[in-house]
């Protein structure tokens, strides 16, 4: 395809992303305004004298018309100002910078595990459709999708931590390692690796195993099911008969020809699953006391800390958008028909 076509489609994609982003900002802003929570009271408290309440209201520009408030909100956003969290008294951006890497680390390990297990399992189930292995895979996936994640998490802790003692308990690291490694990326494993601190790295990995496995199991079930159904469709294609008629090995027919045709669609599934993990690990983070964005969001919500809630929502939404955009670009790169 021509270069100008590429540029045009890229332009169309980025403009649709910008529109979505604007909608996201508008909705978060409006939610903040319609919530029955008075941001002034949240800051000064119930018993503040009326003149203080009035002064803070003016300071926060809450006396101005709604469009003006929105304009101020957007202007602040463009300056990277998400406001200040009442609860932690840090800027929301600093808070997110602190909590988000924990979620990212957890979600990344989970999606890697889920992909490495789920994709081959889905391919295997499709190739052996109707045979015993297919039924076993189906039961495993059904369990992963239907057992609530809090139950899985608690069971995992009960068995591997409380009973067997194979895994360390909750949290991201043992107390003795806290502050050992200078935070650079916020990802404990990466920071420990950069610092060359193997004990801290081992400790961080050990803490990751249980929560990441619980999250991965759930995602793996979905990835396996999608891979299986994509593969079944591909394996019935005429080009599979062609590939076999060429005398290719079964492995080559399955991976090069059938899987090669579903890889593109699988990328989208993986990207959306990853995005889902980044935003939706609230339950897992709570059970494993994982200091991530999900926990930050929950605690902020319970404390009516609206700046924190809106900031975190916006960041999650933007992550989702970014991953979607990434999947879209990869799609164009991998599928010759999309170019």
């Amino acid at each position: 395809m021509s270069r100008s076509g590429w540029v045009r489609s890229l332009g169309a994609t980025s403009s649709s992303v910008l529109v979505t982003l604007f909608g996201l900002i508008l909705i978060t802003f409006l939610i903040g305004r319609v919530m029955p929570i008075d941001p002034v009271i949240a800051i000064v408290g119930d018993h503040a004298p009326p003149d203080v309440i009035e002064r803070v209201r003016v300071e926060l520009a809450l006396d101005r018309p709604l469009p003006v408030q929105f304009w101020i909100y957007v202007r602040n956003l463009l300056h990277g100002d998400l406001g200040r969290s009442v609860m932690t008294s840090n800027t929301v951006l600093a808070d997110i910078g602190h909590f988000f890497p924990a979620t990212m680390e957890l979600a990344t390990v989970a999606i890697l595990g889920a992909t490495l297990v789920g994709v081959p399992l889905g391919v295997l189930a499709a190739v052996r459709q109707g045979h015993r292995i297919d039924h076993i895979v189906r039961v495993v996936c059904l369990t992963g999708q239907s057992v609530p994640i809090f139950l899985l998490g608690l069971l995992a802790l009960l068995v591997f931590y409380a009973t067997l003692g194979w895994a360390p308990g909750t949290g991201r690291q043992d107390v003795i390692y806290q502050g050992d490694v200078a935070p650079m990326t916020g990802l404990l494993t990466v920071d420990a690796l950069i610092a060359g601190n193997w004990d801290a790295l081992w400790d961080a990995l050990a803490h990751l195993v249980l929560p990441a496995s619980v999250l991965a199991y759930f995602s793996m079930a979905y990835i396996t099911r999608m891979t299986r159904s994509f593969m079944l469709e591909a394996l019935h294609g005429e080009y599979i008969i062609t590939a076999r008629a060429k005398g290719l090995s079964p492995l080559r027919v399955i991976w090069r020809h059938a899987f090669g045709n579903i890889a593109v669609r699988l990328v989208t599934v993986l990207a959306l699953t990853y995005a889902g993990l980044l935003e939706g690990a609230v339950v897992t983070e709570t059970i494993f006391s994982w200091p991530g964005l999900g926990q930050y969001l929950t605690v902020s919500l319970l404390n009516a800390d609206m700046n924190a809630v809106l900031g975190a929502t916006l960041i999650i939404g933007m992550t989702y958008l970014a991953l979607n955009l990434g999947a879209d670009l990869l799609y164009r790169l991998l599928d010759p028909r999309a170019q």
């Binding site: 080009y239 008969i241 062609t242 008629a245 060429k246 005398g247 079964p250 045709n261 593109v264 028909r337």
Partner: protein, 275 residues
């Protein structure tokens, strides 16, 4: 004889028992051009594909004898079959739109067929692919080798398919309705190309079609199938002397400028043909 088939049956399990799609077919195929004619569901494709054992997984294949150059296809293992598929017998499918892998370039697909059976580097295989595209008379072979199937016309796609199946120099070519999905103007070109390549390389050809005049024009011998059985076999030149009422019926239904009819006759099927 390259292929010997005795009493071949292909059946599929259905809720009410086995349903026979091919019944008691016996054939000998040597270095000739054989046409298999029949309507949809007559079992012509299944018969041809059973030579490569490329039937749907649920198909039940039985025969007193099914051999390719003396190799027992019924009992051969997968490894042996892979040495027949592509290397000794190629299969051309109906519609290149579906039969070519949409995410691989034409050149890659041809090179892959060559490398599956010949020893050689990737570079060599690609060179060979371009060479083959030239042999199937594609004008700009280097450019087409880099093209994806969706960038090719139907006729070009079918040429790519032919090049791919010729790559390992097979002794036999099975063409399963190779022109049915193509424009009428392109059909003749593709058939002439197949005929030319087959006679130049001394290959055996099995041409499957529902087009009786076309098959009789391009083949030495014609086999007519109906409801899973062979109802008639004759020299292509003797087609006008066909005896079976089904074959006669087919010939009568053809419009001809030399023999104008106000309305074409409709085939009257005799249930006795099924027996």
């Amino acid at each position: 004889m390259l292929v010997e088939i005795d009493n071949l049956s292909i059946a599929f399990p259905t809720p009410t028992g086995l349903s026979h799609a091919v019944r008691g077919v016996s054939l000998r195929i040597g270095a000739q051009k054989l046409g298999i004619v029949g309507e949809s569901g007559s079992g012509k494709s299944l018969t041809a594909r059973s030579l490569l054992r490329l039937l749907p997984e649920s198909a039940k294949l039985t025969a007193d004898r099914l051999t390719f150059d003396g190799i027992d296809i019924l009992r051969a293992n997968e490894r042996t079959m892979r040495d027949i598929r592509g290397k000794r017998a190629g299969l051309i499918l109906q519609d290149p739109k579906y039969a070519l892998n949409p995410v691989m370039t034409a050149g890659d697909q041809i090179a892959e067929a060559w490398r599956a059976h010949k020893k050689g580097s990737r570079r060599e295989a690609m060179q060979k692919a371009v060479d083959l595209l030239d042999q199937v008379r594609i004008r700009d072979p280097a450019r087409v080798a880099r093209a994806y199937p969706h960038e090719l016309s139907g006729g070009m796609g079918q040429r790519v398919m032919i090049a791919m199946m010729l790559a390992p120099d097979p002794e036999m070519l099975i063409a399963d309705e190779p022109t049915s999905a193509l424009d009428a103007t392109v059909q003749a070109d593709i058939l002439r190309l197949i005929e030319d390549l087959v006679s130049r390389r001394g290959m055996a050809l099995v041409l499957i079609s529902h087009d009786l005049p076309l098959v009789s024009h391009f083949c030495d011998d014609v086999v007519v199938m109906y409801a899973g059985r062979i109802v008639e076999r004759l020299r292509a030149a003797d087609l006008s002397r066909a005896e079976h009422p089904y074959t006669r019926g087919l010939l009568n239904c053809l419009p001809a400028l030399s023999r104008p009819q106000p309305s074409l006759p409709v085939m009257v099927r005799d249930p006795a043909w099924l027996a």
